[in-house]
Symmetry: C2
Subunit: 229 residues, 2 copies
DNA sequence: GTAATGTTAGTAAACACTCACTTACTTGAA
DNA sequence: TTCAAGTAAGTGAGTGTTTACTAACATTAC
């Protein structure tokens, strides 16, 4: 969208001439990916037409098929692009906190980073669910690899903390899943279902609430210093 | 589907003649709703064609438009039909348990009933998410009315138990939301994302795990008689 | 000049939806 | 009981439009 506006403003500045500025291959490709991601995330694969895509981008349909052999391949490329873009930085700030065994900060930071990421780019959540529903092959890839990849550090950390008698002895995978359930459901309600209750609270506040409930549920020591109640 | 098979078997019994048996208006309408619900839930609104619908039902396309003015109205009718069908019996068995203040049984029963309902009819979950994504007007209805309707008894019960000092003093709405988060995420992983870890456990086992974690998180008394660990 | 980037004007197939018509069932007077 | 008239259920062959995608031609940058 913003790239589109840039093009438009360039055109409107040169007023009379609609001198279409030519864009090099890789820039155009990225622009197509960005704009298409937004449209696909709003209307799904079947609900988005190539004509509409071309209009939003500001080129003819033929250009799309110059860059991607067909609509399906374009969609796949988008899923690939989006997952690579967003799934890496989630655990960045948590690692040192894990070494310090600061349970609260570990989980509140992780929750906040996930919520903030999904808030900044609502496309991702919608694309993920559209893909899961429409049975895209890349959607199961997404689940099998990326989700597990994000969950694994949490599982390992919880396992350690159970061994250290800090958490009560439950299934680490189950516990990790519960944590991500709380986070995801929050994002889902807020970004997808437009739950009015959730619109007020910030990502950080939400992360605190989630972590509070989660840690209270799995900890042995009930006097959590950061617990709000 | 089963109605379709019934028709087929009738036809095949009378061997030679393809004597299409006529179906009265209301039966046909319900058949259309049932079959369409399944197809729409699999492929979404835009992914399902009226031709395909008609073929699955075993009639001509024209019949569809005899019963519903257009595709959109048919879809709306399905959402209406499905929500009415499924959202009523969820709280049935829980009310007396609530009077007995049997916290564990209340939540485990509710969780199990929700999970079992969604397991029996996977259409509902998929239709709900398709509708939320596609921005159907009925989808927001669904959220605003039905979800709240299901959640309200839980909120009230938690509020009471907090007053009775049985639960620690947190926000009842937040607590209820957490509970349903755990339940929904379970259903989502199992029915939508085909998470292999979740396929093994039964609805009842899952309900127990969820309730265990949830009650441990909100209770004051940590020695839950039903807790598994 | 030429290679890359763009457009215009198409294609055949698929789409939601309609129309003129036929077929099966119900009714009730002879 | 019979059977013609009336009615509800169903159909085949379309409608115009939209779809994904293409081929042939045009423009720009170096």
């Amino acid at each position: 969208m913003e790239i589109l506006e840039k093009t438009d403003s360039l055109n409107s500045l040169s007023s009379e001439k609609p001198s279409k500025k030519r864009v090099c291959r890789e820039d155009r490709r990225e622009q197509i990916l960005t704009v298409s991601a937004q449209l696909f995330s709003q209307k799904g694969f079947n609900g988005t037409t190539t004509k509409e895509l071309a209009e939003q981008i500001g080129v003819s349909e033929a250009i799309l098929f110059r860059h991607f052999p067909n609509k399906q391949e374009l969609y796949s490329a988008i899923l690939d692009y989006k997952t690579n873009e967003l799934m890496q930085p989630l655990w960045l700030n948590c690692e040192e906190l894990m070494l310090e065994r600061d349970d609260y900060k570990v989980f509140v930071t992780l929750a906040a980073q996930i919520l903030e990421t999904l808030k900044q780019d609502p496309c991702l959540l919608r694309l993920l669910f559209y893909s899961a529903l429409e049975g895209h092959q890349l959607a199961s890839n997404f689940l099998e690899t990326t989700v597990r990849q994000v969950r694994e550090p949490a599982v390992n950390y919880i396992k350690q903390r159970i061994e250290e008698q800090a958490f009560r002895p439950l299934d680490p995978i189950l516990a990790a899943r519960s944590f991500f359930s709380l986070v995801m459901q929050r994002a889902l309600g807020k970004e997808l279902f437009q739950d009015s209750d959730l619109q007020k609270t910030s990502s950080w506040e939400a992360a605190q609430e989630i972590t509070d409930i989660f840690l209270f549920g799995i900890s042995k020591n009930k006097d959590l210093s950061h617990s709000k109640e």
